[in-house]
């Protein structure tokens, strides 16, 4: 019984730790968007052609945050 309680507690602690990954992904996404804006304001005429690159960068940064979220969900509901 005590082992089961410890396992349940570990599940929640693990899910909470995995949620830190979402914050890290937020930093990454902010970095991409901020640097794009900084570059776009310096050379606005070149910015239009780079929006595709912007979204690809955002998607890659965001995917890792989603992985962290997935780990949290798995710990909460599947393990």
């Amino acid at each position: 019984m005590e082992l089961a309680a410890a396992a349940a507690m570990g599940k929640f602690i693990g899910a909470g730790l995995a949620a830190i990954g979402s914050g890290a992904a937020a930093i990454g996404v902010g970095n991409v968007a901020g640097n794009f804006l900084a570059g776009a304001l310096r050379n606005p005429s070149a910015a239009g052609g780079q929006t595709a690159t912007l979204f690809i960068g955002l998607a890659f940064a965001e995917a890792l945050g989603i992985f962290a979220f997935l780990v949290a969900l798995l710990l909460m509901f599947a393990v």
Binding site: A52, F55, I56, L58, L70
Partner: protein
């Protein structure tokens, strides 16, 4: 998986935020077999019918001055066409029908899922994995058919120092095989996370003290979801284009 968590005591929510993703048979409560019509089947069919209505019925007139419906279809067509041409170049335009199909299906499934009481097929990894691995297999096949064995040059960076090349090749191979996984989980994860967050705030609305805040939060997050539904369809499509470009021109 959500149902067993639902029955656990100690949950403050009236409903579980992940209950909305349960796959149910449309008729009766029998076990779900591969041929059972479920709510996923229904909403995929609605998405396909909506696309057919817009693109087949809407453009039936083939007017030179387009009607409103026809001009909407033309905007979608031009958007995807330009995206493929920009990313893959002229020889990628041959694969326009496949990429257009992917884009429209994901876009319509995402947006139809935003209706209350509806179901979002793209929130299930099973659905997006088929799309993602389909893209992976098709693109790999195109790469080998078009370039033969020289497609493997994609993994061999000829402009890197010779000592580093084997190391880079290993990393490139791993990243190539992780592509379909991240490609499908990105879409499913984004849509599922957004819908779950809306439900979490809907659960808070039952508590009188914070219900105005939570209703405002639902409105705000719904607005974000309208944006995310489009951006994820766009990202899925443009990454397909990028992978296709790698297959058509493996030497950078």
């Amino acid at each position: 998986m959500a149902t067993e968590a639902h029955s656990e005591a100690g949950s403050a929510l009236v409903f579980h935020p992940l209950d909305q993703f349960i796959v149910k048979p449309l008729f009766g409560d029998g076990p779900v077999q591969w041929y059972t019509p479920t709510n996923v089947t229904l909403w995929m069919a609605i998405a396909v019918l909506a696309i057919v209505a817009l693109f087949v019925l809407g453009t039936r007139g083939r007017a030179i001055i387009p009607t409103r419906v026809q001009s909407i279809a033309e905007v979608f067509y031009g958007f995807v066409y330009k995206m493929i041409e920009d990313v893959t170049g002229h020889d990628g335009v041959k694969y326009f029908p496949y990429i257009m199909t992917l884009f429209l299906f994901i876009l319509f499934a995402n947006y139809l899922g935003l209706f209350p009481m509806s179901f979002t097929p793209t929130s299930h990894i099973a659905v997006t994995a088929v799309l993602g691995f389909g893209v992976f297999i098709v693109v790999t096949m195109i790469g080998f058919v078009k370039n033969g064995a020289s497609f493997l040059g994609l993994f061999w960076m000829s402009d890197a120092p010779l000592v580093l090349r084997p190391v880079i090749a290993v990393i490139e191979v791993i990243s190539y095989f992780v592509r379909p996984v991240s490609h499908s989980i990105r879409l499913a994860g984004n849509i599922m996370a957004g819908h779950a967050v809306i439900k979490v705030f809907a659960g808070f609305a039952a508590i009188a003290a914070i219900s105005p805040v939570s209703v405002l939060a639902i409105v705000a997050i719904y607005g974000l979801e309208v944006l995310v539904a489009f951006i994820q369809a766009y990202v899925f499509t443009i990454l397909t284009c990028v992978y296709l470009k790698d297959a058509l021109h493996p030497h950078h």
